[in-house]
């Protein structure tokens, strides 16, 4: 089989796609121009699409976000799926879920803690009110909110606090309650007197002598 000049038997196997050796006319390598055009178009389309997708997907993965400088450390490029799972679980545990309309656990502050304490000790707030709560079993609620009671339309005069008497916390309400303060003070002094008898009273007397 005769080949063109420079083409040996071996080169026959080096086939390049879209390029055919025209064996009939030596020295010429022909190719189908229409097919090449299609290929070129396809390539362009691909690269265009890739360009768009790539830009977005890369940006999505990017860890250099606008708040990058505020972060204390460089966040990892990849987070393991177990860690993600754990994060999601922790997030879920901060809410009650569907059962109670996604109620959120509040961030504990000193103010909120005092409110909870007041409710825990409400048995001793009022001498005329009794509660059947078990003492040792009090558990602080994880999910709670603190709101303000709005009276019904017919209770403007009967059961409404005027604007001046409204306070921002339950503790402040108690502090503003003169009746409660009076009761508290009498109780406190009573306790003081009771404690002064016996050992405590004796020690106090002794101290007075000494100084």
């Amino acid at each position: 089989m005769e080949l063109g000049p420079g083409l040996s038997e071996k080169t026959k196997f080096l086939e390049v796609p879209n390029i055919q050796y025209n064996l009939e006319i030596p020295n010429l390598i022909s190719y189908d121009p229409s097919e090449a055009e299609q290929a070129f178009e396809r390539l362009q389309l691909m690269s265009d699409g890739e360009h768009e997708n790539n830009g977005d997907s890369i940006l999505k993965k990017s860890i250099i976000t606008p708040d990058f400088m505020q972060k204390e450390y460089v966040p990892p490029l990849r987070v393991s799926k177990y860690k993600l799972k754990r994060q999601r679980r922790e997030e879920r545990q901060q809410k009650t879920g569907k059962g109670w309309h996604e109620m959120r656990a509040p961030e504990m502050t000193e103010e909120l803690e005092n409110e909870l304490k007041v409710l825990e000790m409400r048995g001793s707030l009022d001498p005329k009110r009794y509660y059947n709560e078990k003492r040792g079993k009090k558990k602080r609620p994880k999910f709670f909110q603190i709101g303000r009671l709005i009276e019904g339309p017919g209770e403007f005069y009967s059961s409404r606090l005027p604007k001046k008497a409204r306070k921002s916390t339950m503790v402040e309400e108690l502090l503003a309650d003169a009746e409660f303060q009076r009761y508290n003070k009498t109780r406190f002094t009573k306790l003081q007197i009771a404690r002064r008898r016996g050992k405590f009273g004796y020690r106090n007397k002794y101290k007075k002598k000494r100084f």
Binding site: G99, W100, E133, P141, G147, L149, E155, K163
Partner: protein, 284 residues
């Protein structure tokens, strides 16, 4: 018969009657409008809200404890009840409505310590005997935007109030029709998870039964409030309740729990039952 029925949990016969098995704390001494001033949490005071044992229901705690539901339509009270607003930076404004156990048998049952009410966020409820829609509005609060309440009421007069409630609450479908003929509203009602019935009629068990046959899914639940006076005013209430339970069992409803509403209503009982239960399976 009594094999499935739990002993009555309310300690109604022995004087110390207040309090539920869940939280035996103060029940506000309030009544139906007339005896004012006994319930004295005043408008404007601060209150803490925490989830109740039953899903969709909350307890408001201050000096007294109140039963509340999360208001679907913020800024509106349905029958002049008190509300509790919460301003939050994250969730915006949320609101709760106080649920008066003297006006609602379901609320009375919950405070009496009923084990399960089978009404939770997202469930579909057929409510027979909706009246003016006071309890229905709270049920609609509980089931929330993903649930549905089909409220059936025959009386035109109280049906009008019910319509006004349903106008503002998208999850209530009001039906002004006789509950004795469930086929009349078959084009509106879908299969439901729970039937709540407060119809106070002598043929109450039959009404609940045919509605269950039409609309209640298998292993769905029935919560019925029975007023002994309305069924037989001469017999003993306990005998009337027992008789009603027998009738329910004939309608393939297996009673699971019975509870009198003692401090709140006289001679009333709430019965919870399961419809077409699996014979071999035990249900809680």
């Amino acid at each position: 018969m009594s094999r499935f029925i739990r002993p009555n949990r309310s300690r109604g016969q022995r004087g110390a009657i207040r309090g539920s098995s869940q939280s035996r704390s103060a029940v506000p001494k309030w009544g139906r409008g007339t005896d004012k001033g006994r319930f004295n949490a005043k408008g404007g005071s601060k209150i803490l809200i925490e989830p109740h044992r039953h899903p969709g229901i909350y307890i408001a705690k201050s000096k007294e404890d109140l039963l509340v539901t999360k208001n679907m339509v913020t800024g509106e009270s349905v029958y002049g009840e008190k509300r509790i607003t919460i301003e939050d930076n994250l969730d915006g404004k949320t609101e709760y409505r106080v649920w008066n156990p003297f006006r609602s048998k379901l609320a009375a049952a919950i405070l009496g310590g009923i084990d399960r009410i089978h009404i939770a966020p997202g469930s579909k409820v057929l409510y027979l005997g909706a009246a003016s829609g006071t309890t229905v509005s709270h049920v609609s609060d509980i089931v929330g935007p993903n649930g549905l309440v089909f409220a059936v009421e025959f009386s035109q007069r109280s049906g009008r109030d019910l319509l006004n409630v349903a106008k503002k609450r998208t999850n209530i479908i009001p039906i002004i029709e006789d509950a004795r003929h469930p086929q009349k509203y078959r084009m509106i009602v879908s299969m439901v998870d729970t039937i709540f019935a407060d119809v106070a009629q002598p043929d109450q068990a039959r009404i609940v039964g045919i509605n269950a046959h039409y609309y209640l899914k298998h292993r769905g639940y029935v919560v019925i409030s029975i007023k002994a006076n309305c069924i037989d005013s001469t017999a003993q209430p306990e005998a009337v309740f027992a008789e009603e339970l027998m009738k329910l069992q004939r309608e393939m409803i297996r009673p699971q729990e019975q509870l009198t509403l003692e401090p709140y209503e006289r001679d009333h009982a709430v019965v919870v039952g399961i419809y077409r239960p699996d014979r071999k399976q035990k249900y809680d």
